[in-house]
Symmetry: C2
Subunit: 412 residues, 2 copies
């Protein structure tokens, strides 16, 4: 059951000039669903990617990195069902063969294709079925294919995730549309499971990677469901250059900031959607840590709280067992932390209460207020470390029976 997350409306997903999407039912792992997606990009499109830091990275991630280094990308191909990770040399061969087959259909070079896979690890791709699905996906390429594609990349997601926004840049209307998938094995280190954001702005090839990294840091790199960094995390930003704006070449320009703001806003909504649809989630929790000596220690504290199974199960129970939050802050690894100075608040969109100060329970705190706040599905844990000016925030969800059920049953 997703937390305050509605399915995208097909009409709300604006086509991005220069981008066409097509899906197919290839039968990768299950039947009766679309599981293969092709995204075709107009010539001249710029593409930047941010990928998992997991050492056991999937074969398609390795191939994406190689192909992005060569550049001039013309298409993306995404399968769900099998992750093509932990598949050794054969996995690399399969990812390359997928690129070659699609390149032949599109009459481009295989290095102009980016491959993506998501699903079960340690199992080989059913290459015959995958390759047989490519012509069908190609034949169905459409400007307005975002809605179907957002569904075709899902695994344990219960709701498709896609968002559109428009922004004025240099007197031209720029359309930004993106989609993502992921519900478990979510603790992105550089990017999420799979996230794709496209716009039709013209931007210098040297600036897009910076924009992609900054957008990833503010969005997918600030969420966690279960602390498990996936083998396949990939976040892709596409700029087709079809909007007619003067090419953005300066990272300090107003145009750059406006475009970066819009792309980051879309990325944050997609990243939060993954948490809202986190496996078994019943609460959406924002962990806000202020007053740190630096951002890194704020993130350490936020992740310690966000990953604590005891905190997450207490939130599932709507139980203001806030000592568990203090314990997590205490073991976050800040050796010089003065617990006598830090303060902790609990809040929801309607109210907020000081929970802890001076190393213990706040004098004005009462459990009735805590219990009332906890009943809301949107909760904020705010921590002031009282050590400096830095801050960070992490979005996560609670830990429920259904998380165990989903992950104990996932392959069956």
């Amino acid at each position: 059951m997703a937390v305050n997350l509605k399915p995208p409306a097909p009409a709300g997903l604006r086509p991005v000039p220069g981008v066409r999407l097509g899906v197919a039912e290839a039968g990768i792992r299950k039947t009766g669903r679309n599981d293969l997606t092709v995204i075709e990009l107009a010539p001249g499109s710029q593409v930047a990617g941010v990928f998992t830091q997991n050492r056991f990275c999937a074969a398609p991630v390795t191939v994406c990195r190689e192909h992005l280094a060569i550049g001039n990308i013309r298409a993306l191909v995404i399968n769900t069902g099998i992750a093509n990770a932990g598949t050794g040399e054969q996995g690399l061969k399969d990812a390359r063969a997928t690129c070659e087959a699609l390149a032949k259909i599109l009459s481009v070079s295989s290095s102009q294709i980016l491959p993506f896979s998501t699903g079960v690890i340690l199992e080989p791709l059913p290459m015959n079925r995958l390759l047989a699905g490519l012509p069908h996906a190609y034949a169905h390429l459409r400007d307005d294919g975002w809605f179907d594609a957002a569904h075709a990349i899902m695994t344990t997601d219960t709701i498709a995730k896609a968002v559109s926004e428009q922004v004025m840049v240099g007197g031209k209307t720029i359309t930004v549309t993106g989609m993502s998938k992921g519900a478990g094995m979510i603790r992105p280190n550089m990017a999420t499971m799979l996230g794709f954001v496209a716009c039709d702005a013209a931007i210098s090839p040297s600036l897009l990677p910076t924009l992609a990294r900054d957008a990833a840091d503010a969005s997918f790199n600030s969420i966690t469901v279960d602390g498990d960094t996936s083998t396949n995390d990939s976040f892709i930003v596409i700029a087709t250059g079809q909007a007619g704006n003067v090419e953005i070449t300066d990272a300090d320009s107003h145009d750059y900031r406006e475009l970066a703001r819009a792309i980051t806003a879309v990325a944050i909504r997609l990243a939060q959607s993954i948490v809202r649809d986190g496996e078994g989630a019943t609460k959406f929790m924002s962990i806000v840590v202020d007053g740190g000596a630096n951002r890194e220690e704020c993130r350490k504290v936020a992740y310690a709280v966000a990953h604590s199974p005891l905190v997450k199960t207490a939130f599932f129970a709507s139980d203001p067992n806030l000592g568990r939050i203090l314990a997590a802050i205490g073991y976050a690894g800040i050796d010089t932390l003065d617990v006598g100075r830090l303060r902790v608040w609990l809040g929801n969109p309607d109210e907020k209460t000081l929970v802890a100060e001076r190393g213990g329970r706040a004098a004005g705190y009462d459990e009735e207020t805590g219990a009332r706040i906890m009943k809301n599905a949107e909760l904020t844990i705010q921590v002031d470390l009282a050590r400096g000016p830095a801050s960070a925030n992490v979005w996560t969800c609670d830990f429920s029976y259904d998380y165990v059920k989903i992950n104990a049953d996932y392959r069956s």
Copy 2:
């Protein structure tokens, strides 16, 4: 439901000359159970302690550290129900007042008392009831009080944990008896929730702290249930010196090694008992990592596997979804890890199979073998990093519906 863990037999717990234990029903948090324990030590006993590294350490931990620095400890007092953590200045006052009250009864100085608390964080101790219980516990001090004491220190434990062993040191029989408690918030960083091991050997005061630290590293510092380092972890080693052996003064002596072996063996059994009784546990898992460049990186990998909710839920389901193990190894933080060289085995006491090699599934692996091995409640995940001579092991349990149930209901 504890995994292959039987309750201790009262007759199997040998008294340690110089140690008497008494319990009382003080009504700290719940009625109808013993929740207050006093352990009296004969004059001349040596005591060493290892404590939590959580910055939010509990008030009794702070007081224990102070009193151990002064030395000449004569008694321990342990309450369950309330952790006296996150209680600020009042918590420190309460811990000191507890020591003063017991010191008065025993006619010793309050610095000769070590206080311990375990239970809910962020709530104050009910001092009137605690102090009223002390005379009763004192009046019931007995040589053979280990069995009752092991029950009186429990919180969410389903089975009491206590172990005895004997060893010959310098021609004298030394008795080693210990007890521990803990089932959740278990990821000791220097020691477990509460562990006490007493022996009647004579050993130099300068050697006992080293022995205690080494025993903790080999036992309580190698277990995890949920990755949550507690605020109250304490591991105490007592040597009463009543066995009549020549005092051990050399860490390289045969006598020291024999005593250290026996104390470490008791500590390991107590630590493993905590995992076997881990909240909701249905499997006991040993994570063995060999071939590391150093012990620290082996421990990183072992803990990454042991803490992964995806690995733990797959083991709960007896599902050999082994790609999740590879993903956890990959994000353990070894930047130079060559996933093409490492190997992973899955085993139980009856058989063992190679699961992964050369970056993918091992050629000889089949799922039927994996599924058969997984049905056992005692499982080993063995990883060879192929980088060097170091190794480490961590014991943990799986992640079940009951973990969520226990922690969502704990306070109600």
